[in-house]
């Protein structure tokens, strides 16, 4: 197993806890009518975004999905600006204009959540092309869902990345469902990673609730990409605790399924793994738990007290140089 420094472990734990707190709070706020729109929560999949992004720096890029909060937090986007965005407030990451499904922070290499399933694949080829043409060592990670695997754009992106040996890591987050449709129905293969052979790239399936498995697989793929050896397809199998979006009655979940989720909870597993092996002191984890709650409390307070956009914001930012009336 790859070595992980305790510093990195604590970073991962902190990010996972922040994600979980953020999502739990978002669910409550949505139920209370505080958050408008479509909100897709990442709880249950924390080990994927964090295990992958633990290998990246601010200069590396990620593309994301409609379920993007976890990717943002793993890429160290400020949770205050994220929460303000969910509220549609002016200091939001996107000035309140994007909302949950378009949350982005290019300065952190986070190229945006994306409302179009499969939309991020081609974009990932683009940021990777920039790195390749300019000869930087930047890597791009393209997160996409199991459902997105059936979208033609992902096929095109994987083929292009392969023939151009672009520094991309394709990470398929297989949470078992595309909305209410199970992966066993919508996918013609058992493991999405089996499709890697269709692009002559390495492919592997890992347990997406096991941070160590994700970390190791992503590490190798990212090193490979940085070396100029081209893309890899990693499928991480996990689950989502919440519905497809908030408001989903989740009629397609059974009690047994829910029990299975609890048993695989990525955060509980992480705690057990690191504590059993005494990799970090429990007190440090507990501190992080507390800080995560505080950070989200703070983010909510910030969002609530932040100003709304002003009417002229409607018409700005459509173009850089063409102010439209």
């Amino acid at each position: 197993m790859t070595e992980i420094t305790s510093e990195k472990l604590l970073w991962i734990y902190e990010r996972m806890r922040l994600i979980r707190e953020f999502e739990t709070r978002a669910a409550k706020l949505f139920a209370a009518g505080q958050l408008p729109g479509f909100v897709h929560l990442y709880a249950g999949e924390e080990a994927i975004a964090t295990g992958v992004c633990a290998h990246l720096t601010d200069r590396d890029f990620i593309t994301s999905t409609h379920r993007g909060h976890g990717h943002c937090i793993a890429k160290e986007v400020d949770v205050r600006s994220m929460m303000a965005e969910l509220y549609g407030k002016e200091p939001g990451a996107c000035k309140g204009k994007g909302g949950s499904m378009h949350i982005a922070d290019v300065s952190k290499g986070m190229l945006g959540a994306n409302g179009i399933v499969g939309g991020g694949g081609p974009l990932a080829c683009g940021s990777a092309l920039t790195a390749k043409v300019l000869g930087t060592q930047q890597v791009t990670v393209c997160f996409f869902g199991d459902g997105a695997a059936e979208q033609g754009t992902m096929h095109e992106a994987m083929n292009m990345a392969a023939i151009w040996k672009l520094p991309v890591v394709f990470v398929c987050e297989n949470n078992g469902f595309a909305e209410s449709t199970p992966v066993a129905y919508h996918a013609s293969v058992k493991d999405i990673a089996d499709r890697a052979t269709a692009y002559n790239m390495p492919g592997l399936t890992v347990d997406g609730t096991d941070i160590f498995a994700v970390y190791e697989a992503a590490g190798e793929a990212i090193v490979r990409a940085r070396r100029g050896e081209g893309p890899t397809l990693i499928e991480a199998k996990a689950f989502r605790y919440y519905g497809h979006f908030e408001g989903d009655p989740l009629t397609y979940y059974t009690d047994e399924m829910r029990k299975g989720f609890q048993a695989r909870d990525p955060i509980a597993r992480f705690r057990k793994q690191v504590l059993d092996r005494a990799l970090v002191p429990e007190a440090r984890l507990n501190e992080i738990d507390t800080r995560a709650v505080q950070a989200i409390d703070d983010a909510v307070a910030f969002a609530e007290s932040s100003p709304l956009p002003v009417p002229t914001d409607l018409l700005s930012d459509v173009y850089v140089t063409y102010a439209h009336a």
Partner: protein, 344 residues
């Protein structure tokens, strides 16, 4: 007898259901249109789980079975293309494009295959299919789930486009669309789904290409599309109080367009204002203004007015989105300025 009241959502469901009962070649397919019906444990409950993302097709998989009501992968090109291919060979598919905003991943199959096949084949084929799709802002669904864009489809020869504004119209127009031998794009405004209205239980057809005069008036013609019809009617009430009687025309079908009903109205009222929730450039609003000004120019006593969304994507923040959508106030103001021009 008390009138039978249904929501817009229920009216659409009923339209599909009646046609599927009548015609065994009608099938339905799209992402989650059954919704977990593919899960044995859900099927076991005797009901599908979702019936589409906003529940419009609930109950159909149960009645017609999974052979005729098909969940699909997230593969819009394959969904629409399969509908085109099926339509050309003997079925009457209803394909769902969940949000119109996704047309960019499948437009080729819609306009280049479905829309042109008959012409390119010299009339030796037909494509009797319907694409149902959701439109409209106001749901706080942000930049990629709130567009209207029926103009793009209306632009394309070979396609017919329908935008219903009431539950009654939705049912009758949808039945007409399914029976039609040409590809029809049927636009459902997501904010209308919970709107209620009278809908008779029986089977009825509203012919495509016939506008509906939703309110009679002599002073100005307001042409409004989809959800904007209600805005126009509300504005008309205010205007009436101020002494102006607006005639509100709902084209219902954008292609073919019932030009006569609109032109006759303008010839009578000498004024026209169009209300379109879509972006303004190369839009239905400009289409309607061009129709009126090229054909009954001499009847106009004032410049036509367009009330539309601005030339921006749909913003997320509710305060901004509310500014994006045309309102009755905008319409009233537009009409008033037409009658009492502001002197600078």
């Amino acid at each position: 007898m008390a009138p039978r009241i249904l929501t817009f959502r229920e009216a659409i469901n009923e339209g599909i259901r009646l046609e599927m009962r009548r015609d065994p070649t009608v099938i339905l397919m799209g992402e989650d249109v059954a919704g977990g019906a593919s899960l044995p444990y859900v099927a076991g409950k005797g009901e599908e789980a979702w019936g589409g993302v906003l529940g419009v097709t609930k109950g159909l998989a149960k009645e017609f079975g999974r052979d005729r009501v098909r969940d699909t992968p997230i593969s819009e090109s394959a969904i629409i293309g399969a509908a085109v291919g099926a339509a050309a060979t003997g079925l009457r598919p209803i394909a769902e494009l969940m949000f119109v905003d996704f047309f960019g991943v499948c437009m080729d199959q819609i306009y280049n295959q479905g829309g042109k096949l008959r012409y390119m084949f010299g009339g030796k084929a037909k494509v009797p299919m319907v694409v149902r799709t959701m439109i409209g802002a106001g749901f706080r669904a942000a930049g990629q789930h709130s567009g209207s864009h029926y103009s793009v489809f209306t632009h394309m020869p070979g396609l017919k486009t329908v935008v219903p504004s009431t539950p009654y119209d939705a049912k009758g127009l949808l039945i007409a669309a399914i029976q039609d031998d040409d590809p029809v794009i049927f636009f459902e405004h997501k904010l209308l789904y919970d709107v209620k209205g009278e809908v008779p239980e029986e089977y009825y057809v509203i012919p495509l290409g016939k506008a509906d005069i939703k309110r009679r008036g002599k002073d100005i013609t307001i042409v409004a599309i989809g959800r904007m019809v209600a805005m126009a009617l509300e504005a008309a009430t205010h205007l009436s109080a101020a002494g102006l009687e607006a005639e509100v025309i709902d084209p219902r079908t954008l292609s073919p367009l019932d030009e006569d009903t609109i032109l006759e109205s303008v010839a009578k009222t000498h004024h026209v204002l169009v209300v379109d929730e879509d972006n303004p450039r190369c839009s239905m609003a400009t289409d309607l203004v061009a129709l009126v000004t090229t054909k009954v120019f001499d009847y106009l006593d004032a410049p036509p007015v367009m009330i539309t969304a601005p030339h921006t994507p749909v913003p997320f923040s509710p305060v901004l989105e509310d500014l994006y959508i045309p309102t009755p106030e905008h319409i009233v103001k537009g009409v008033q300025e037409m009658f009492e021009p502001v002197t600078a």
